[in-house]
Symmetry: C2
Subunit: 317 residues, 2 copies
């Protein structure tokens, strides 16, 4: 049987990935280009067109019924535009119209990258079977997305779930976003490393000062490294508890490089959650590591396209 | 034409109000009893039964098709139980089953009181026409509810929108809920008054140390009173901005006694919001005072019952 496929695009500051994805979330064809992030907008768009072009010459293309895009944000789903922080050539760039033209007029669904990851975890990963979930990426930045009432909650502009930029410390350090004490300002990988260094942690002979190196030191018992992860866990817990208190979720899924730190992060996170998620309906919240790998953005963009085309039941999102 | 009605119950720590409400949100019949909040659970229930009984003897009762309950929380909509903080005799009390029995078997919809207020503001008040809204009650406590995608978002247990107990100051003062730095701990009426008194504000000859008296002093230019409202506004802004960043809302409606303080609250609130709601999709957020009066709980409970019975279109929620 020749079932339908959707085309998926995962657009970030480093690479532009594309795929044809079947109704079970399996990637059938791939294409990829580096993102010429420092070039002008039309040059960046040409890289996208090359990726789409590579997909359209596949014999499977004729079965594609829609295109899903997960893009670095902010995005504006209602206007069909994107303004990725790390791609200065794109400001209110009409990505949806350009992709529709490149894809022969197929319907195009645009969501933010945190929302795409969430769609993937809900369809195939750690949030599967959960009707109310927060999925996060904790890495260079902190992003996320929400599933509410069994459906992806993208929000009118496709940016919902931006947990990295809620303030959990209203008098705290200024964040590049303009606010103060944001979850990202405390819990992102670079901030975990910065705080460890400021408090006297020193890297090993390889000179690695990444959050992964701080995590290794924490596992070996370095108290400054442990404390930096505990502080990150506290900020993540306050943000996750706020989400549970505001919209009711029963699981928070954490991916990204910092999410891979394991119990160095998850043990203090569970402890801090019991301090911040105190109301009866928020108290039984689970936290779990993400299950989807590097294809999460593509699989999630595909899920969004399938959902938009066929209703929530098809992709379970 | 004899259109349908719904019965509505608004259950708080002070009074139990009931009404028959028509499809336009107009109250046709009323009943009320004080809440015997310090008595055992069955005694409290008898007061509810008396209110329902008074409604059932109305000649209009035969047109009632459902019952909506807005109750002090926490509630558990999925279990049909309530555990209001201020009614210790009710813990996991099976209110829905008891009300259904008292109402001759009509279907019963249960939501938290913050959700009920939100349903009312969305149907008839300041959030009318807004598909994505946060409605708050800032008074002795701080409660709230959400409208997302044009529909009331009650959450699985009916408690969504509890903005008073999200932490905006993760190292802040302990809150009676068990967490720290909650919005309520900084912005509720009693905390506005406490902070003013601690910083040297003194009441007038009448000895009134309420938040309303602090508001009057702030309007007269008292700098300590002004500062206490500014701090409350900062915490409310951080919480509202967090909500906009997490779920995308375009308006925050503020009711309750503190909401009536007017520009003493709203001017610093708008200023603080521009500091905390910084992402493109959150930047155009409006704040507005609530429009519904003391019947908001009844009208909102009616809206929830109408919605549950006929789908979102009927009551616009």
């Amino acid at each position: 049987m020749h079932t339908d496929l959707v085309a998926a695009l995962d657009i970030g500051g480093t690479k532009i990935a594309g795929a044809l994805v079947d109704g079970h979330g399996r990637i059938q064809v791939r294409a990829q280009r580096p993102t010429p992030a420092r070039e002008d907008g039309d040059t960046v768009m040409r890289a996208v067109q090359e990726v789409v072009g590579e997909l359209t010459v596949s014999p499977l293309w004729e079965r594609a019924t829609a295109v899903g895009i997960g893009s670095a944000g902010p995005v504006d789903r209602s206007a069909g535009t994107v303004s990725p922080v790390n791609v200065p050539g794109w400001r209110d760039y009409p990505l949806v119209g350009r992709v529709r033209a490149a894809a022969g007029g197929l319907p195009v669904e645009l969501i933010g990258d945190g929302v795409a990851i969430t769609a993937a975890e809900h369809w195939q990963g750690a949030a599967r079977g959960h009707d109310n979930a927060l999925c996060m990426v904790v890495s260079t930045g902190v992003g996320g997305g929400l599933v509410l009432g069994g459906r992806l909650h993208a929000g009118p502009t496709g940016n919902a779930g931006h947990i990295g930029h809620i303030s959990v410390d209203l008098d705290g350090d200024p964040c590049p976003c303009g606010s103060r004490g944001c979850v990202e300002r405390i819990a992102s990988g670079p901030n975990i490393a910065r705080r460890a260094l400021e408090n006297g942690w020193r890297p090993g002979p390889d000179g690695d000062t990444s959050a992964a190196a701080v995590a290794a030191a924490a596992r070996a018992g370095d108290p400054v490294a442990v404390a930096s992860f505990e502080r990150a866990a506290q900020a993540l817990a306050a943000g996750i508890a706020a989400t549970a208190t505001l919209v009711e979720i029963d699981i928070a899924v954490i991916g990204g490089g910092v999410g891979k730190a394991g119990e160095v992060l998850f043990a203090p996170l569970r402890k801090a959650l019991s301090s911040y998620a105190t109301l009866s309906f928020a108290r039984h919240l689970a936290v779990a590591p993400a299950q989807m790998g590097t294809d999460a953005g593509l699989v999630g963009a595909a899920a969004a396209a399938l959902t938009e085309r066929t209703g929530a039941a098809a992709a379970g999102v």
